[in-house]
Amino acid sequence: MLYELHGVSKRYAQSKKKVAALHDVDLSIDQGEFVAIQGSTGSGKTTLLQMLGALDRPTSGSVLFDGVDLAGMKESELTKLRGRAFGFIFQAFNLIPTLTAQENVETALVPLHLSAAERGAKAQAALAELGLAERGKHLPAELSGGEQQRVAIARALVRSPRVILADEPTGNLDERTRDEIIALLQGLWQSRGQTIIVVTHDTHVAAPASRRFLLDDGAVISADAAADRVVVESPQRD
């Protein structure tokens, strides 16, 4: 198993009252899976993704990644792990506005301590793979939303991560661009068996996933299994 979550809870101390964002979540994800985590706004999807991406530690429970518990790791160890194992895709793309497309992709290679030439070559290759070979010298502001998200995906892919973690990757995109990104993720999963975990409240994004979880108020209320099963649209609240 790539991930094994046991009794994961996360509570935020919001002024005086405590907010329980996650409730006793048990979950396991295998290598090569395309997992969609669905749920309405505030149900705890982002919080769960942060646990999976070593961005935060649970209040209680254990998050085993490759058999190692992330909950017991020091911040510096989490940083090291993030630099090697994960590729993040954000709703707002989160590109560095002052850096060109290629330089943005190169930021993901900084933790690997490569030479400048190696970094450049890898970044160019990643951009070319996403059809952005000509756009390397452009600043994010000079690119469309879809192109920016493709640069962000190139940044996630460039160091061949174990897992791609995407939080509402189409939240800021129109329908046509959304479908392009969905197709792109699906292609990655199918062609190279890339493990993908995507958080979304959009059933279209969740549709190609091999497995879907539904989060409600911090708890997993349904997990429909096999990819070959007929896709049943999950109930949407927002």
């Binding site: 993030r82 707002a92 989160n94 560095i96 002052t98």
Partner: protein, 491 residues
């Protein structure tokens, strides 16, 4: 990547970067200007002290003349016989400077042998007066043309027939310093610089040679190679030296000064150099024991006596100036820090994203520090340039400062001053010992604010330090950002 990111970032928010650098620059400009001015005031003060005192001299020893001695100088003016009436006359009189007692040269030797004294030389300051004119004729008795010669003079006589008439008498006076040619590093010559000719050689102890002050030489059109007749002795002019105050007009070997004034084996001032600055106080006490009744003045005593706009400027620059600099620096750093912090605040998502990607906090902090360092360097460079412009402006106006040494209010009652406008007697007219004798002595110096290499280095270092403080605060803020924020921020 590091530099690329750094400069892109600075270019992207250039307005903020320029503002930060300018804030630091203004602070640095103030520091440079105030420090340079303070340096200028200090060097003006040194200039004044040195001109009074000689560069190498730490202590000066004099003794006040006993009351009843000295007094007004006398010339024998009696025509003697009526035959000489109307004929020309000339009188030369060289005397030891009034108010100073003569000391035996054995005192110099005694002072020299004191422990803590590195060297001591004796000096004899003389006033030379030259009076020339025509003897009066008694009108009525011999000639009737006398009334014509009096026309230039205001006549107090109403009428009368027996009024003696006196044609104008020419008087010139100058100051002579007899110096120890064997050690010219201390004493009056040490504060001057050679402009033409040469100075004394150490073997010219009894040579008939003189060195002339530049101002006096100019006034009297004296050049090197000329011959000067003083008290009937012909001296060859071997050199011209420039001094700030022109308090001495003619320098000659001590032995010659003693000969022409008739004061064999006497000096009226002893210049002392201590082995170290810490010895000065002890040496001063020792000298007082050795030379009874002596006035022993150290450079510090003299500095404490300095009053006038120079000393006000000095007090201002050492007290207010320091606070001004500190206040300017603190506000510059505060502005830079606030701007840097707000800059980091606007980049929460950016830094959070980099952390999520696996960048170490240290890497992000150094990025922020690098940006601040560049701003600091730019601020320092601009600040030094502005400061340079400001000091150039001060230099262009070069405000004059007056320094008055000695008891104020006391009239300068030297013989030479009676006659006013005596050649060579500049605004500073007075011997090196004037201050020590309680006589007022005013020197005018012009303020220049020189920027030294070390001041530039300090200014740049301060700007960089200021930038790094700001960057450090910004970096600390950036280091504390949680990478989890990056996932949540959509704005």
């Amino acid at each position: 990547m590091f530099l690329n990111y750094l400069f892109r970032e600075l270019r992207h928010r250039h307005r903020q970067a320029v503002l930060t650098a300018l804030g630091l620059a203004l602070g640095i400009c103030l520091v440079v200007t105030v420090s340079a001015s303070a340096g200028g005031v200090r060097s003006a003060q040194n200039q004044v002290l040195h001109s009074l005192y000689g560069v190498g001299t730490d202590i000066s020893v004099t003794q006040s003349a006993k009351s009843g001695s000295g007094g007004a100088q006398q010339f024998a003016m009696n025509p003697g016989s009526t035959k000489k009436q109307g004929q020309s006359f000339a009188r030369d009189r060289v005397t030891s400077t009034m108010g100073l007692a003569l000391l035996s040269t054995t005192k110099v030797t005694a002072v020299k042998s004191l422990s803590g004294v590195s060297s001591a030389v004796g000096g004899l300051t003389l006033s030379s007066m030259h009076v020339s004119g025509h003897f009066a004729k008694v009108s009525g008795s011999t000639s009737s043309s006398a009334s014509k010669s009096t026309s230039a003079q205001p006549s107090t006589s109403s009428s009368g027939s027996a009024t003696p008439s006196q044609s104008p008498i020419k008087i010139s006076s100058f100051t002579i310093a007899g110096i120890d040619v064997s050690d010219q590093t201390i004493g009056p010559l040490s504060s001057t610089t050679l402009t033409s000719g040469r100075t004394f050689t150490s073997s010219e102890t009894s040579a008939k040679v003189v060195v002339i002050d530049a101002a006096y030489a100019k006034q009297n059109s004296i050049v090197v190679g000329d011959t000067m007749k003083i008290s009937g002795v012909s001296f060859k002019v071997i050199g011209i030296r420039k001094s700030a105050t022109s308090s001495v007009d003619v320098y000659m070997p001590l032995l010659m000064a003693q000969t022409i004034s008739g004061e064999t084996g006497k000096v009226n001032e002893i210049y002392v150099k201590a082995t170290s600055a810490t010895q000065i106080a002890t040496v001063k006490a020792e000298i007082k024991k050795t030379v009874s009744g002596a006035t022993v003045t150290t450079a510090q005593d003299l500095a404490n006596q300095v009053s006038g706009s120079l000393s006000s400027a000095s007090k201002l620059s050492s007290s207010l100036g320091k606070w001004l600099e500190v206040a300017a620096l603190i506000s510059a750093v505060a502005v830079a820090s606030l701007l840097t912090l707000s800059g980091v605040g606007r980049r929460v998502r950016e830094f959070g994203t980099l952390k999520a990607i696996g960048w170490k906090s240290r890497r992000i902090v150094s990025q922020v520090l690098g940006e601040a360092l560049i701003q600091g360097l730019a601020g320092g460079a601009i600040g030094v340039a502005l400061g340079y412009a400001a000091t150039r402006l001060i230099g262009a106006f070069s405000p004059s400062l007056q320094a008055t040494v000695g008891a104020s209010g006391l009239p300068t009652s030297r013989a030479g001053s009676f006659f006013g406008g005596a050649p060579g007697a500049s605004s500073a007219g007075g011997g090196p010992g004037d201050a020590l004798r309680g006589l007022s002595h005013t020197v005018t110096v012009y303020l220049h604010a020189p920027i030294s290499v070390s001041l530039v280095a300090v200014a740049i270092a301060l700007a960089v330090a200021g930038g790094l403080i700001a960057g450090g605060l910004g970096g600390w803020r950036a280091a504390r950002l949680s990478p989890a924020d990056a996932l949540r921020r959509v704005d």
